[in-house]
Assembly symmetry: C2
Homo-oligomer: 335 residues x 2
């Protein structure tokens, strides 16, 4: 295992501390809980957004905490759901009296734990609600999932629901638009290599030097096909074929579509742009109108896994306005 | 070789095209030359900044093109200097009558070619000047370098000199502040793995599964020591000891220091934050005042190489103002 770490069992705690130290005006760490909250939390009379999940997907989720996106992020152990206790701490820290909304990726542990946290919060008089994001079209049901998995489309939920909350929407209103984003976002990914979780020190799956897996999940869950590595253009065609063939009509006239080409951690930005060039070509060929700039970079990773995912979000005018609303989060602050 | 590419010989061209397509309001590609320029270039009566170098260091350099930073970036083949012809094309495309300033990393090919481009530009009546960035304290002279290598500190030169040019400084004034940044910035890196350039398909060096190299260059140039992997805290101590022991006094009272913890491409963000936590601890212990937020992420990479570098920049009030001035570049636009 080749990692810049001190001890596998301290990785998440030290990462959270590093995030707080690097972005001290923006983030505050709740000690002992690996929960990062907005430095100015709670914001009174604003619906607070909380997300979280297993660590290893950075900048998801802590990188998305700040004005205009999340109010708190709960960091579980690597690839392991945070506990209801962590979620409850986050909930209490950010509740400003207008309720707390959970953005949950569709993994069984995350869903159960956020549901339990919501019950605990209700016991303490805090109203909560949640959305379960399930944008991955690769497979129905999976290793840790009933139904479809939640992957990089979650970032669009954070951004748009976060802006809606900042805009003064109430809890039901935030739930409505979060659900609307989830209904209109579809993703699919592929992997070239495994990653190595620090605790085990071993790859989570084996894959040949000349192989790739289409539809791989962000925890190495099986995809739809294992085969020889193909050229980038062919990979992009396969991913987009499945995304475009799903239940959202991205080609309907007048529809603008936000496009994300996400790197899983080990794939250089050079390759993401090579892949994006063909994403743009295919979408133009298929009559999809790409909305403004594309999102090309590492938004939802799987440690050092090499691979990519493509996400399309069909926008309406309100989603566009919220997508472009200002936000200030660590992942959005390279300068 | 496990890469999302189509053909090794088309990687740079396709990457540049992908960047233009992803950021079409911001970037324009000069066809056949792999030169990315600001979409609104030339900006009249502003000193134009041009940088460039071998590809494989993304988001360096194309990711830093836009208002407030570079006017153009020349993309050479992977780890190979762009040609004087490319640089001349960039120069002509961005010259707005106030001269063109080159930001050159100290690699022999880059320096010679930018010097030649400057001569060709002068022949066409365009005034030019340049700075050679040599922030890497690891070694004197190196595989491709006489003197010290230029690495991630270059990003601070782009940012501050770019803001100075946007602020109306003339060519001599831009050169002065670019030189001042270079005089006050120091970096050092280390690597855990090699990267694999697409053309050769082979690692550029061999390194044991339990080994790391301190002081490694961004093209795999030899560092100062090859040894067993150590804990992150110990690695950080070694890098900072050399940076702090160099000729810039980062501890002088009243000095604020900008800090960058850069990932070389294959190291997950999780590990960058683990390392940053100890960077902050050491700097506080040594009496270094960290200026506002830290820069933690992938700013200057080496394809999929695993490793990190640390950069410190001693700021004066003018540098602070320019560091914080607005800019709009692809690498600064995750949202």
């Amino acid at each position: 295992m080749k990692k810049v770490i001190n001890a596998p069992e301290r990785v998440v705690e030290e990462m959270c501390r590093g995030m707080e130290l690097a972005h001290s005006g923006l983030l505050r760490l709740i000690p002992e809980h690996n929960v990062l909250v907005r430095a100015d939390a709670p914001v009174q009379n604003k619906v607070a957004l909380v997300s979280g999940g297993g660590s290893g997907h950075e900048p998801t989720h802590g990188g998305y905490v700040g004005p205009g996106m999340l109010d708190a992020a709960c960091a579980g152990s690597v690839f392991t759901s945070p506990t209801p206790d962590q979620m409850l701490e986050a909930t209490k820290a950010v509740d400003g009296g207008a309720g707390v909304f959970y953005v949950v990726k569709n993994y069984t542990g995350d869903v159960l734990n956020f549901e339990m946290a919501g019950e605990l919060a209700e016991d303490e008089g805090i109203e909560t609600d949640y959305v379960v994001v399930n944008d991955d079209v690769a497979v129905e049901d999976s290793t840790y999932t009933s139904g479809r998995r939640g992957i990089a489309g979650t970032i669009f939920v954070h951004k748009i629901a976060g802006a809606a909350a900042a805009d003064g929407r109430d809890l039901a209103g935030v739930k409505e638009i979060a659900g609307r984003v989830n209904d209109n976002v579809r993703s699919m990914g592929m992997a070239l290599t495994s990653c190595v979780p620090p605790e085990s020190g071993e790859p989570i799956f084996e894959i040949g030097d000349d192989e790739m897996e289409i539809g791989m999940g962000i925890h190495g869950e099986p995809g739809t096909e294992r085969k020889k590595i193909e050229p980038a253009d062919r990979i992009v065609e396969e991913l987009l074929q499945k995304v475009l063939g799903d239940s959202v009509d991205f080609t309907s006239p007048g529809s603008d579509v936000a496009v994300m080409l996400n790197g899983l951690g080990g794939t250089p930005l050079m390759e993401l742009y090579v892949a994006y060039a063909h994403v743009a070509d295919v979408l133009m060929r298929e009559g999809v109108d790409i909305y403004k700039m594309a999102y090309v970079g590492e938004y939802m990773t799987s440690l050092e896994m090499a691979g990519i995912s493509v996400t399309l979000l069909k926008l309406d005018d309100e989603m566009k306005r919220y997508l472009e609303a200002p936000c200030d989060v660590a992942a959005g602050r390279p300068f």
